[in-house]
Amino acid sequence: MQTERSASIRADELGFRVEAKALLERVRLHADQGQLVGLIGPNGAGKSTLLRAIAGVLRPQEGAVWLEGEELNSMPARDVAARMALVPQIAPYTHGFTARELVLMGRYPHLGRFEIEGAADEAIAREAMELTETEEFAERTLDTLSGGERQRVFVSRALAQQPRVLLLDEPTANLDVLHKLRVLDLVRQLVDEGLTAVAAIHDLGMAARYCDRLVLLSEGRVLADGTPEEVLAPVIIEAAFGVRSAVYPDPVTGSLVVSLIAPADEDRSRVPATGANGRNGHESRHHLSAEARAATPREARI
C-alpha cells in the first residue's frame, strides 16, 4: 500500500466554520491511486462540505488539500478541473441544455479558450453516456428527465471530464436498485483501472460492498477511518448514528450487511432481543469498544 504522502488526493487538517459553528474540524482524508474511499456519516456530519472542500469549490479556513502532490490553492482552476471531477448531490436546474450538451461541458477544462468541442470530444462524451446508459435521451433537455436519469447524466459528465480523481456526492441517492448497482459497478471498474474516487454514500451496506476504505464523519470530525470491517462495528455505528445494529457478512454476496435494530435511546426491552442479531450487537459493543477507541483517539465519547 502507498504511503499517505503519495496519495492521489489528500485533505490535511481541514477546518471550516460558518460563524461559530464548525462544519469541519481537523479533518484528514486521503485516497491512494486505484482506491475507492467511501464517506459515510449521519445527516449534517459534513460529508458534502468535505467533498466540496476537496473539490476546491469551497475554501476551508484551515488546512490544505493536495491533489497528486500539488496544493490545490496554488493550481489554476482549469488544471484542477482537468484532473478532478465532482458529481454534485443535487443536479442543478439546467435551463434547457440537452443531456448531450451537459456531458460535453465535461470537456470544457480540456479545451482552449476559443476552442469548440470537436469530433474527439463528441466521441468521449458519447462513450461516457454509453457507460451510464444515458445515450437514449441524449437530445432531451434535462428538465424532462427523472431525478435518477439526470443523476446518471451528471455522472457521464464527470466521466467525460476524464479525471484522475473522481468525487461523488451521493451518486446513487435517486437511483433505482438496478442503476444503483450499475453506477457503483462502473465506478468500481474505473477505480480498478486506476482511477481514484471518494464517494459519499448513504447506504452503509453499499459503502461496505464497493469501497476499499471507509471514512466515518460525525459532527464535522473523522470518527473512524479504515476498512469496512474496521469501521462498520456496531459500537462505532451507534456512536455516529445513534442506532443499535448488527453487522454480519451477507450469505450471498459475502459483503457486510448492517442490520439496523433500533434507535439507541429507545427502551431496550422493546427490541427483539431474542434473535442472534440483537445479542450479537450487544456483545460487540463490549468486544469492539477498545479497538474503536484505538482507531479514534480524538473521540472521547466512546
Partner: protein, 359 residues
C-alpha cells in the same frame, strides 16, 4: 403536417453543432441586418430608390457605380445612416446585455436594466434636461446618462458586496430597491419641473428614441458596446457553467468571482452606453435572447453573437416603423418596441406552453 415538418427542422437545427448553428444563424441574421438597413435607408419623408441607396453605400467604400443627387447623398450620409447605426448598436448592446444578465441571474426574466443601469441613466438624463445643461453643450445628455448608469450599477453592486459576502440574490434585490428609488426621484423631478418644454423633453427621452442621432452618437457608443460584447463573448462558455451554479462552475474550472464581475461590468457598460444615446428602449433585451434560445438552445457561444445581430434587426425595424407610420410626425421607438414586443412575447409563451404539452 407542415407544422410537424417545421418543428422537426427547428429541432434538428437546435441539435446541430455549435459552428453550424453559428454559421447558419449568422448568415441569416447578418443578411437581415443588411436588408433591413437598406430598406430603412430608402424610407422616410424623402423616398430614395433602392438603386440610389446602394450606390451611395458603395461610394462609402470607394466604389462609384452611379451618380446620385447631392440631397439624397446627404440624407443618407448625415441623417439616416448614423441613426440606423446607433439603432443597430443599441439593439446589439441591449440584446447581448439581456442574454448575459439572464445567464448570470439564472432567470429568463432578467433584463439589462435589472441592476439599476437604465434607471440610473434615466436619472442622469433627467437631471441634465432639468438643469438646462442640454442646451449648453451637445454631449451633456449622453454623458450625464452614462455617468448615472455607471453610478447606479456601482451602488447596486456595492450594496450586494457589503460585508464581503457577495450574493446574486442580494444583487437582484438591491437592483429592485435602487430601481424603485431612482424611479421615485425621477417622478419627483418631473412633478417639480417648472416649464413645459423641459417636461416634454424628459418624457420624450424616457420613452426612448433615435431621432436626430448623429455620427457623434455612433462614435461615443459603438466602441464601448463592441468592447463590452467582445468581453462577454470571450466568456460565453464560462457563462454556460455559471448558469448551472457557482459550485458547478468552479468544479469545471471557472474563476467564478472574476468572471462574474467581468460579465456584470461588461453588460452594465453596454447597457449604459445604449441608454446614453437612445434613452430607455424597452423589451429588446428581454425578448430577443428569449426567442433565440427557443430556436438555438441555451449555449451562450451561439446565443451571444446571434443575439447581437437579432437585437440590431429588432431596433432597426422598430425605428423604421417609428419614423414612418405617422409621417411627418414620429412615434417613439421605445414605445413601439414594448407595444409590439410585449404581445408577441405573450403569444410566444402561450404557444410554447401548448407545444410543451404536445411533446
Amino acid at each position: 403536417m407542415r407544422e410537424a415538418a417545421r418543428l422537426t427542422s427547428v429541432r434538428e437545427f437546435r441539435q446541430a453543432g455549435i459552428s453550424v448553428r453559428l454559421a447558419v444563424g449568422g448568415v441569416l441574421l447578418g443578411g437581415l441586418v443588411l436588408l433591413t438597413s437598406l430598406i430603412s435607408l430608402s424610407l422616410g419623408p424623402v423616398e430614395i430608390p433602392a438603386g440610389h441607396v446602394a450606390a451611395v453605400v458603395l461610394s462609402f467604400v470607394g466604389m462609384d457605380v452611379a451618380e446620385v443627387g447631392r440631397t439624397e447623398h446627404l440624407v443618407i450620409e448625415q441623417i439616416r445612416l448614423p441613426r440606423i447605426l446607433v439603432g443597430a448598436f443599441v439593439g446589439m448592446a441591449l440584446a447581448v446585455a439581456g442574454a448575459t444578465m439572464q445567464g448570470l441571474f439564472r432567470n429568463p426574466m432578467a433584463d439589462p436594466g435589472i441592476i439599476g443601469v437604465s434607471a440610473g441613466g434615466a436619472l442622469g438624463a433627467v437631471i441634465a434636461i432639468a438643469t438646462g445643461l442640454t442646451g449648453l453643450f451637445f454631449l451633456a445628455l449622453p454623458s450625464f446618462a452614462f455617468v448615472g448608469a455607471v453610478a447606479a450599477t456601482l451602488l447596486v453592486y456595492g450594496i450586494a458586496a457589503v460585508g464581503g459576502h457577495f450574493s446574486m440574490a442580494t444583487l437582484l434585490l438591491a437592483g429592485v430597491a435602487v430601481n424603485a428609488f431612482l424611479g421615485a426621484v425621477i417622478s419627483a423631478i418631473i412633478i417639480l419641473l417648472p416649464d413645459n418644454e423641459a417636461l416634454r423633453e424628459v418624457l420624450f427621452w424616457l420613452a426612448g428614441g433615435l431621432d436626430s442621432r448623429s455620427w457623434e452618437h455612433v462614435h461615443i457608443s459603438a466602441p464601448l458596446i463592441v468592447g463590452a460584447a467582445i468581453v462577454i463573448l470571450v466568456r460565453a462558455r464560462d457563462l454556460n457553467l455559471l448558469m448551472l451554479g457557482d459550485d458547478e462552475a468552479r468544479a469545471l474550472g471557472v474563476r467564478v468571482g472574476v468572471t462574474r464581475v467581468a460579465l456584470l461590468a461588461a453588460a452594465a457598460l453596454a447597457t449604459g452606453a445604449a441608454v446614453a444615446v437612445s434613452g430607455t428602449i424597452a423589451f429588446v433585451g428581454l425578448v430577443t435572447p428569449h426567442i433565440l434560445r427557443l430556436v438555438l438552445g441555451p449555449d451562450h457561444r451561439v446565443l451571444i453573437p446571434l443575439s447581437a445581430l437579432a437585437g440590431a434587426v429588432f431596433v432597426i425595424v422598430a425605428d423604421t416603423f417609428a419614423r414612418t407610420i405617422i409621417q411627418p410626425a414620429e412615434f417613439r421607438v421605445g414605445v413601439l418596441t414594448a407595444f409590439v414586443g410585449a404581445p408577441f412575447f405573450v403569444l410566444l409563451l402561450i404557444r410554447n406552453k401548448r407545444q410543451a404539452y404536445a411533446l
